[in-house]
Symmetry: D2
Amino acid sequence: MIIVMKSGAPTDEIEQICEEMRGRGFTPEKIVGSHKVVIGLVGETRALDPDAMQDVSPWVEKVLRVEKPFKRVSREYRHGEASEVKIPTLNGVVVIGEKYPLTVVAGPCSVENEEMIVETARRVKAAGASFLRGGAYKPRTSPYDFQGHGESGLDLLAAAREATGLGIITEVMDTADLEKVAEVADVVQIGARNMQNFPLLKKVGAQAKPVLLKRGMAATIDDWLMAAEYILSEGNTNVILCERGIRTFDRQYLRNTIDLAVIPVLRTLTHLPIMIDPSHGTGWSSYVPSMAKAAIAAGTDSLMIEVHPNPAKALSDGPQSLTPTQFDQLMKELSVMGHAVGRWPES
Amino acid sequence: MIIVMKSGAPTDEIEQICEEMRGRGFTPEKIVGSHKVVIGLVGETRALDPDAMQDVSPWVEKVLRVEKPFKRVSREYRHGEASEVKIPTLNGVVVIGEKYPLTVVAGPCSVENEEMIVETARRVKAAGASFLRGGAYKPRTSPYDFQGHGESGLDLLAAAREATGLGIITEVMDTADLEKVAEVADVVQIGARNMQNFPLLKKVGAQAKPVLLKRGMAATIDDWLMAAEYILSEGNTNVILCERGIRTFDRQYLRNTIDLAVIPVLRTLTHLPIMIDPSHGTGWSSYVPSMAKAAIAAGTDSLMIEVHPNPAKALSDGPQSLTPTQFDQLMKELSVMGHAVGRWPES
Amino acid sequence: MIIVMKSGAPTDEIEQICEEMRGRGFTPEKIVGSHKVVIGLVGETRALDPDAMQDVSPWVEKVLRVEKPFKRVSREYRHGEASEVKIPTLNGVVVIGEKYPLTVVAGPCSVENEEMIVETARRVKAAGASFLRGGAYKPRTSPYDFQGHGESGLDLLAAAREATGLGIITEVMDTADLEKVAEVADVVQIGARNMQNFPLLKKVGAQAKPVLLKRGMAATIDDWLMAAEYILSEGNTNVILCERGIRTFDRQYLRNTIDLAVIPVLRTLTHLPIMIDPSHGTGWSSYVPSMAKAAIAAGTDSLMIEVHPNPAKALSDGPQSLTPTQFDQLMKELSVMGHAVGRWPES
Amino acid sequence: MIIVMKSGAPTDEIEQICEEMRGRGFTPEKIVGSHKVVIGLVGETRALDPDAMQDVSPWVEKVLRVEKPFKRVSREYRHGEASEVKIPTLNGVVVIGEKYPLTVVAGPCSVENEEMIVETARRVKAAGASFLRGGAYKPRTSPYDFQGHGESGLDLLAAAREATGLGIITEVMDTADLEKVAEVADVVQIGARNMQNFPLLKKVGAQAKPVLLKRGMAATIDDWLMAAEYILSEGNTNVILCERGIRTFDRQYLRNTIDLAVIPVLRTLTHLPIMIDPSHGTGWSSYVPSMAKAAIAAGTDSLMIEVHPNPAKALSDGPQSLTPTQFDQLMKELSVMGHAVGRWPES
């Protein structure tokens, strides 16, 4: 249930309502917007009568029952305002959000060795990326495929950050590794296969680093938002939702079906910022540029693009990786689109 | 099998090869490109040896076996060149193709009455559309829903053309109605539910009007291209492929999943022009603008948008229809995107 | 809306209610069950108040609003009783229905020549089949594949009937061919690709032969029942619903995903009899036996099995066809299962 | 690569080959079948020439390259023979496998309290179940839903085992909980959402308790077998594959689409035993009996059925749970089917 306060409601009055709600066994959460204050009530609110709640204070504007299964991630929970995720990096704070310029994340699927990751970081930074992606722990369909360098891969990412100042986004697959990953990562990634790994969601929700939550291959939008809700319900509100393609009946020419219509849908449902990953979304580097441009046109807040110095020899996901030179070219094309929608960063 | 002739191959030589191939029981088709001539061989070519074919003439550059199940629709069949569909309308010839400005088709789901269809035609023309869409024969899930006005609906479309000069795109559902529909339609539409209605495909392939072939809800790209192949194999090469959303596991917020990645995929597989229908593709008018822009950014050749003077009272598909005023606004936004990709028509 | 009459309601009273309903603009349909009479009201009944309807006569037991989009096919429409389809054949009337022994339909995908179809008919009859299936008009993904012998194929089916007395089930693809097909067919089949070919549904609904309605590859159960509703709404109530596999994300080892759970679901929703086609449902002959047995265990009323004298040389669907010898063996296995559920025909 | 030894190959010869293979850097695994010995070679075998391998010893019958991505789980790896999983319980060893009588697992979704779990255990044991299922750690879509009692839930399962002697099957969701779960569980379950939680798969592969591996909602058969391969590659060969329904486009009447055709497909691909869960597979208790019977007819080795003393008040999955009385009735029906296929346990 959500209590929307009138404009100018005094702080005391708001505090008193929160107090009263705590007394009734609910957890009130105060969201201070630019015009109004909203109090979110978490707990067993089904039995509450919204009309009766109205009478709690003359400063209550209206009381809304949230019909959706998700609550803290819902747009109503912030009274319609978007949230943004602010990420401190060596190169300064980067903000991902609806009212900010586009952010580009780039890098290889896996961290392979120091030279390749540092070199890739330099190239993608020069082209305009703000974040380096790269997996130290890799979820692979086969146990016989390269599983990532694990802890030593994290060290290589740290070296790449040192060399370039880029923020680091890397995946955590196991609760046991979270502490180590969060030490290096500026944003902790939950992969598609772990989108409903609830113990992991709870743990990333209980630590401080922002979280990139990839959509599961067969996750409905509701499933995805509920997974985000797990993170927010543990206290971490810095969550970015990343679409990376869903599984459908046609996999002949495309590894996944990239579901770009989630962009306008998520805007109406949630305040959280959005990232699109056309590399996994299509599975083939030659289709990445058109889908990256489409994502910008559709209103995404950020993009994740796989870049590898030598895709033909990549230890994973080679076919969907751009070369650094292709990425340079892509960024030029994206800037045209980014300017057209008024969201390309000033250089 | 495809025989690529060297540049400058004499016409006589080409004719002689065609003659020889006819003698061997194949149907040769000559495609004259800007630089080269290609001969497509239709028939049971599996037993032919491409190397031996090379020796047929010194002017043969190379002989390619088409591995794909489709042949006439394949990009190789035209030696990599795009085809375009030229449609004469009262307002002049409109061309839909990769090297031409974007074309916009707009109008209601169903033709309801003369006033509404003429009024809608005027409004969408004023906003920049080149074609009016509108169903006289309507495929409806329920037999108790409005089934379209049929033949008299065609008369109303003819009136709208008379009033505005717009080209008319309307659906045919039954071979028995094709003649009547083709009399009025400038482009005959095959709907998603009939994409594999093979007798209908053959019949539209054997008449002269261009064909808009919508993708079936569960059609793979190969299925779709083979359906187009049916039309081309009967002689009609003027086919436009229209993506309108596929059926996937998540239908909570979207009627279909719009598969924009088909745009770059089709570019590599086929020479045929592409249309995107974000109205059916999403099912909700509020999601149409972002997907229309995304389609342009991804490289579509044309768009189909549902517009209804009063969506709340529409006899079909109201929720996904824009009002004329919303369509005006959308066209302004699309022009920004269209200019960014260099494909907006000069006004 | 459905009016359930009390047991023993006099015929006069029932007629009078029907008369009154006609007066109000509805089309009443009387369904005489073994205990009760039910009147189905077709028309715009949304505005009717069920409680007020109750007062129309003291013999009205209750008035139900049908919430489902389908009406005539709904189980409530027959007050919970199953319907059956009675098909006269040269060998006598065969009944397909929930309270009758299992019926087996067998035969090749396509009718290839007289010898093969007559020979196959003899073999499947000897093994216990009641119907011969075989396509004269074939829906094929590619225009270059065998399209069926058409009209002369129908003659061959007639010859097979003459030779064996088996009932004939064959597909119609075009409204223009219906008359010819219905002359030979004892049951007219609508294929999966035409499940929403509404003009065809209306035409088979307006003729007398029973109809086998295959489920579309991406048809929801509601879509499927609405397609059946089209047929019933034109007057033909003899419809059998045939599940033949749906399209899902995994097509590596199976051509389709056979959805056997529709059996118990359809039982609750509709009175129509059910057929299962494990040949198309799996796409591979080696998987047919286990799925045929499973279908019987789950409660199907009939089975359709592809049998070809020489699957390796079949002009279509070879990989999913059993040889006559394999079919003999299968029927023995099915009889064990059929006896276990008490539905194997007395020999 | 797989080396099939001739019948009667001497042990010394086999050992010597294994030695030589180790010398070349491979990990040989000896599988002793009833007639023959097979040596599986794990490692980078792509460069090996099967013909050259043949010459290693005159006792080599043939050398096969495994084309499938999975190796240890493949049927060829055991030279075509099924494996079985032997599970010691207080009531004796229960064997799940293709050549053994059917095993039934029953119990509630979640362990709620001691009385309910012990009572349920007694009832399902009396009806013929060999295992009790029940979740202490529950994966729930919403963070606000009951998450299971965790560690204290495990104590309640231990109490139910003490009271009835039934084997215990319960889910582990986090590597951090595995030790505790494995202390109580006779079979450790990996749920559908964790099917590609690779750290968890590795950890259950490195401990001794048998593993029930549920298929992910959008997992292809290859994905699923590769997940099992992770477990086997760590040394644990006691894996049971459990189908529990996949996600498809139609979710109106069924929570999932139960994919029974995996039964014959898995038989050809893998030696591992199979379990079917019609409760999750359909999502509604009224559809469970027909799908349980179908699974037996199709050849499953075991069934998992949800049973709750009071489904209407269940803390999770109530709609798909049978009452103990309904389960009694179901077991009677299943015994008819089980006898028909010759796999019902002697009582």
